[in-house]
């Protein structure tokens, strides 16, 4: 089988389980009932092969089907992962539709009450050739990705068939597939089930059909499940998928019949990752033995140079010499202590780090686009670390931040001013940051606290960057922290692939990425505070003038021309504060936010930083009905945010979304003259802001 066969910590561990752990033979703890001894013959009569399918039936939790809610998510995830993998490998920008329907016999059931669902996932990928369809969907451990070392979402060749089998076990329904490999080819419809004894497909239906799509695959599963929003839900997973995959257009038809669109906001495919051979540092002894058996080379030096990366023939000879074996030896004959010496020598020899083109990071721009699209904030930044290596496996860490509330959100709760009693203070917002984690672009929703990424977030000193943080806790404030690990081999802590293991090299990289994000956030926060104090300054005078004028009027026995005095005082106030360049305080003097690479800043007056990107994201969002806009806490709130600027007619399609993010910003602090510097955000976005700003100003003065 594959080259990589390892402990339970690798992406392929799912498949290693059935073999490593045959069904526990009749369990008779010797100590418990010594009297009932069983003879070897008796035992032998009971010993037989266990099919992977049988194994799965008993151990479904290992593959993420432990409870109905998680099972529903796992099914969606397996199908979507495959769709995205296939599209990307074929060089197609993915369009994926996920549809969840409540299935009931008779009475209609509310989605939250239902226990049976139909999942349909459709992609515009390369399609699957007819002959392969049954085995892909109804044979466990069958796939194209296992036998290579290349970054992809799927790895084992078990995912979709396991989902199909789960459906079959819980509802008895077969998996339905439509696939078409091109406009000239026919679309094939299949209904398949798995023969769980033999782990072989049973084809129920196989015909050519008319299909509106020129190319792609559609999978339909009927499964027992539970639909519940919130943490670790299908909705959250799709939302997070969209953040890390802004090159994907994702349409989600919820069981409630709603349609959520996650538009494509990044129009380039991630670079194709290359396949690589294993690096000597990345293998374990058992795996070396297996490779020695499986190799096609006839000599040891040929094996070393041919089956590993970064081992030249010359280096192979040196290794042989150091391990005191002949380069001409037959690999298959190397056993026992000799093999062990070779293994040790391999680990001790200085070998160049593996090539890193086998991994394809999301990229700073794409992360920004994803965060900006999905999360309403004031400040966004993204960092992609240079490739690094742990145990011979190349990896890249990426981190990002979305921080703050949109200007219009900031002022919303201010409206009903509740008089404060003595000793009462403004409520401190006790909200904590949220961490979203990814491995190879796939969101990780379970086991957060066991995850290396989460630990790195906790151990980062966010106080240095102007945030609050209690000891050993997440930083406070409205913030989403994004961490992605891309690798040919993501080391998970368990076979359920939910948390990334703690390797020092990985921790270090995550920490460095978070620190850089934090540093930029700190700059932003400080700058915003400066601007805010300027705002306060002006505001104070505004507010107090009212009070002083009223009091003076009463002192003068109510005979004062109040309006005149007020205007005179306001004029003095403006001349006193107007001189201060608010623009400067806001740091809006250069082409971008200084010292803040790969960042977007949203202010009341427009967008700064990667403005082109932001504008692009907005226009992409403008083209669709944006219904899915969860806030920073992740609860899906009704979207009330911007869509378009050019075409006002489109806003009729968007239910209650006002205009541009800039135009809505309400409490604009600047006078019209001062807002001109902000017209750099490209496109038309700043214009509405300006008009709003001047309107506001006119009204107050």
């Amino acid at each position: 089988m594959g080259k990589k066969k390892d402990s339970a910590s690798g992406p392929d561990s799912k498949s290693s389980v059935p073999r490593a752990n045959p069904e526990p033979a009749p369990k008779k703890p010797a100590a418990a009932k010594a009297a009932e001894r069983v003879t070897a013959v008796e035992m032998g009569a009971r010993q037989r092969e266990i099919s992977v399918s049988e194994f799965f039936t008993k151990n479904r939790h290992l593959l993420g089907f432990d409870n109905p809610r998680k099972a529903l998510l796992t099914c969606v995830k397996e199908a979507v992962d495959n769709a995205l993998d296939a599209c990307e490998e074929a060089g197609i920008l993915p369009d994926v539709t996920v549809k969840l329907e409540v299935m009931s016999n008779g009475e209609p059931v509310a989605p939250s009450q239902a226990n049976r669902f139909r999942i349909t996932v459709t992609d515009n990928g390369p399609g699957i050739v007819r002959q392969q369809i049954p085995r892909i969907f109804a044979k466990l451990l069958y796939g194209s990705k296992f036998h290579r070392l290349r970054m992809s979402r799927g790895q084992q060749g078990i995912g979709i068939s396991a989902a199909g089998m789960y459906g079959q076990l819980t509802t008895g329904k077969p998996v339905k597939i439509i696939s078409r490999i091109g406009p000239k080819a026919a679309a094939h419809f299949f209904e398949v089930q798995i023969d769980t004894k033999k782990n072989e497909p049973l084809v129920h239906e196989n015909k050519q059909i008319d299909w509106e799509q020129p190319r792609g695959t559609q999978v339909t599963l009927e499964v027992e499940g539970k639909y519940q929003k919130g943490r670790a839900s299908v909705d959250e997973w799709l939302e997070q998928t969209s953040i890390a995959n802004p090159h994907v257009k994702l349409i989600y038809r919820t069981p409630e019949g709603e349609t959520k669109e996650y538009p494509r906001t990044y129009h380039e495919l991630p670079p194709q990752p290359r396949e690589i051979k294993p690096h000597p540092y990345g293998i374990e002894f058992g795996m070396l033995l297996k490779m020695l058996q499986d190799t096609k080379s006839h000599t040891l030096s040929g094996f070393l140079a041919g089956d590993f990366c970064r081992v030249s023939p010359q280096l192979a000879d040196e290794i042989c010499k150091a391990a005191k074996v002949s380069p001409e030896d037959k690999p298959r004959e190397l056993k026992g202590p000799v093999a062990e010496t070779l293994y040790r020598t391999l680990q001790e020899t200085k070998i160049m780090a593996p090539p890193t083109n086998c991994i394809s990071p999301i990229g700073e721009k794409a992360i920004l686009a994803g965060l900006y699209k999905q999360i309403k904030g004031e400040f966004y930044t993204a960092v992609s670390r240079p490739p690094s290596v742990y145990r011979g496996n190349p990896f890249i860490i990426e981190a990002g931040l979305a921080y703050g509330n949109r200007p219009q959100d900031q002022n919303r709760p201010q409206q009903p001013a509740m008089p404060k009693a003595e000793g009462e203070h403004e409520e401190e917002d006790s909200e904590l940051a949220r961490v979203i984690r990814y491995a190879n672009r796939v969101p990780l929703l379970y086991q957060q606290s066991a995850c290396s990424t989460f630990k790195a977030v906790l151990s980062t000193g966010w106080k240095n960057y102007g945030l609050t943080q209690s000891r050993g806790a997440l930083p406070g404030g409205p913030m989403v922290i994004f961490v992605h690990m891309a690798s040919v081999w993501v080391p998970f802590t368990s076979e359920s692939k939910e948390a990334i293991a703690d390797y020092d090299e990985i921790q270090k990289e995550i920490t460095l990425a978070l620190r850089e994000c934090g540093r930029r956030l700190g700059l932003f926060v400080r700058r915003r505070e400066r601007a805010a104090s300027e705002f306060r300054r002006r505001n104070i005078f505004e507010l107090y003038i009212e009070e002083v004028v009223e009091a003076c009027n009463r002192l003068k026995g109510g005979t004062l021309p109040k309006q005149k005095l007020k205007e005179q005082l306001q004029k003095i106030a403006t001349s006193r504060t107007g001189g201060m360049k608010t623009d400067e305080a806001l740091g809006k003097t250069g082409a971008g936010p200084e010292g803040l690479p790969h960042s977007i800043i949203v202010t009341a007056d427009g967008v700064e930083g990667e403005t082109a990107l932001a504008t692009q994201v907005e226009s992409d969002q403008g083209l669709v009905v944006p219904t899915a806009e969860p806030n920073l806490r992740g609860d899906p709130t009704p979207a009330d945010e911007p869509a378009l600027k050019e075409d006002p007619t489109k806003s009729s399609r968007t239910t209650h979304r006002p205009n541009m993010r800039t135009a809505q910003s309400g409490q604009v602090t600047l006078s019209p003259g001062e807002s001109k510097a902000k017209n750099r955000s490209g496109g038309k976005s700043p214009k509405p802001a300006k008009t709003v700003a001047s309107k506001k100003h006119n009204r107050t003065s």
Partner: protein, 367 residues
């Protein structure tokens, strides 16, 4: 309260003057600014000849369009407004009521004009000082926390109050004792004894000390409030009564005595009307424990704060007299302070029957 004719009082005129500053500055596009005399040690001087602490000429500016001062400025105008309201209505009120009267949430904000009384009290003092008006004149009263007993007759709101016929409780000294409010109709006493603590005053009153020694007993329960100080001053001035002060033997007691004698630093401008430069320090002196054989075990160890405060007092110009330097030094060397109450260690009536008679007989006091 008597209703007076609706004539603008001089105090009200001064208050309106603040509004005029705002209006005139605005007219000239100037930042409205109030000049407020500084109420701190740096701006007081001891007038040796008069025996008074006097306020210097240093002033601080309080400007509206200065972020650090804007709120204080606004508060000052609000308090001035409330004070002029009192003038118009001819009402008196307390510091606390002024706080409540001027407190509200500023329009379009979460901010209160005042958050605690600690913010409004100093503004009232600022106004007293900058307008050179007494608090009484501003119609702001303090709490009545003083008592008087002895051969003195007052006229209060038309009532005749004979302080020799009020039992051991005496008369509660009002916070405003200006002649318009409190008339001293008759006084046959020989001196005034101002006692720091209510407990000692009670002891003396109960023992009818005032009758035997023909004196007026006054107390202010701690740092005497203005009413008590002002009344002592009036008795001293109008009836030529010497004033003796009886306090605990600790730095705080010395300071109380000094405030009665030459005025306070904070409201130095009122010394003119409050201070009694001829007041005498009767005790408890740091020499008394030895002289009256108080056992060491009724003393209390000076804490760090006491020591620091005592050293500070030694630096005040009005404590520079050699007798006072010796008095304070003696306390520091002994490392002990004594409460008046400690005299009870010898006898419950030791104060009445032994200590004070001997003090008076020996004329044993400090100036």
């Amino acid at each position: 309260m008597t209703t007076k004719t609706k004539k603008t009082t001089p105090v009200e005129k001064k208050l309106i003057g603040l509004a005029d500053i705002v209006i005139q500055s605005a007219e000239r596009s100037k930042d409205p600014t109030f000049q407020i005399p500084i109420r701190a040690l740096s701006n007081v001087a001891f007038n040796e000849r008069k025996g008074l602490i006097e306020m210097g000429g240093k002033k601080q500016e309080r400007s509206f369009f200065n972020v650090g001062m804007a709120k204080k400025f606004m508060q000052t105008v609000l308090v001035a407004d409330a004070l002029s309201e009192l003038q118009r209505a001819d009402l008196t009120t307390s510091l606390r009521e002024i706080y409540y009267r001027t407190k509200h949430t500023i329009k379009n904000s979460h901010e209160n004009t005042f958050d605690t009384q600690d913010e409004s009290d100093p503004v009232i003092e600022d106004l007293e000082v900058s307008l050179a008006t007494l608090r009484e004149e501003l119609h702001v009263r303090a709490e009545n926390s003083g008592s008087i007993v002895g051969p003195v007759v007052f006229g209060d709101d038309g009532d005749r109050v004979d302080c020799s016929k009020l039992g051991k409780g005496g008369y509660s000294v009002p916070s405003i004792v200006e002649p318009e409010y409190l008339e001293i109709r008759r006084c046959t006493a020989d001196f005034v004894l101002l006692v720091e603590k209510g407990t000692q005053w009670n002891r003396l009153s109960e023992d009818k000390f005032w009758r035997r020694y023909n004196c007026v007993l006054l107390t202010g329960n701690g740092q005497p409030p203005r009413g008590v100080r002002r009344l002592a001053r009036r008795l001293h001035e109008e009836h030529r009564l010497p004033v003796y002060v009886l306090v605990d033997n600790d730095p705080w007691g010395y300071y109380i005595y000094s405030v009665i004698k030459q005025g306070s630093i904070n409201l130095a401008f009122e010394s003119q009307r409050m201070a009694i430069p001829k007041a005498k320090f009767m005790g408890l002196s740091s020499a008394d424990p030895e002289r009256y054989e108080l056992p060491r075990n009724v003393g209390i160890k000076l804490n760090e704060k006491d020591i620091a405060r005592a050293k500070e007092l030694m630096n005040y110009q009005w404590f520079k007299k050699p007798a006072w330097q010796a008095e304070i030094k003696r306390m520091l060397t002994s490392g002990l302070k004594y409460e008046l109450d400690a005299l009870a260690n010898k006898d419950f009536q030791y104060l009445t029957k032994k200590y004070l008679p001997r003090k008076l007989k020996e004329k044993d006091w400090l100036d």
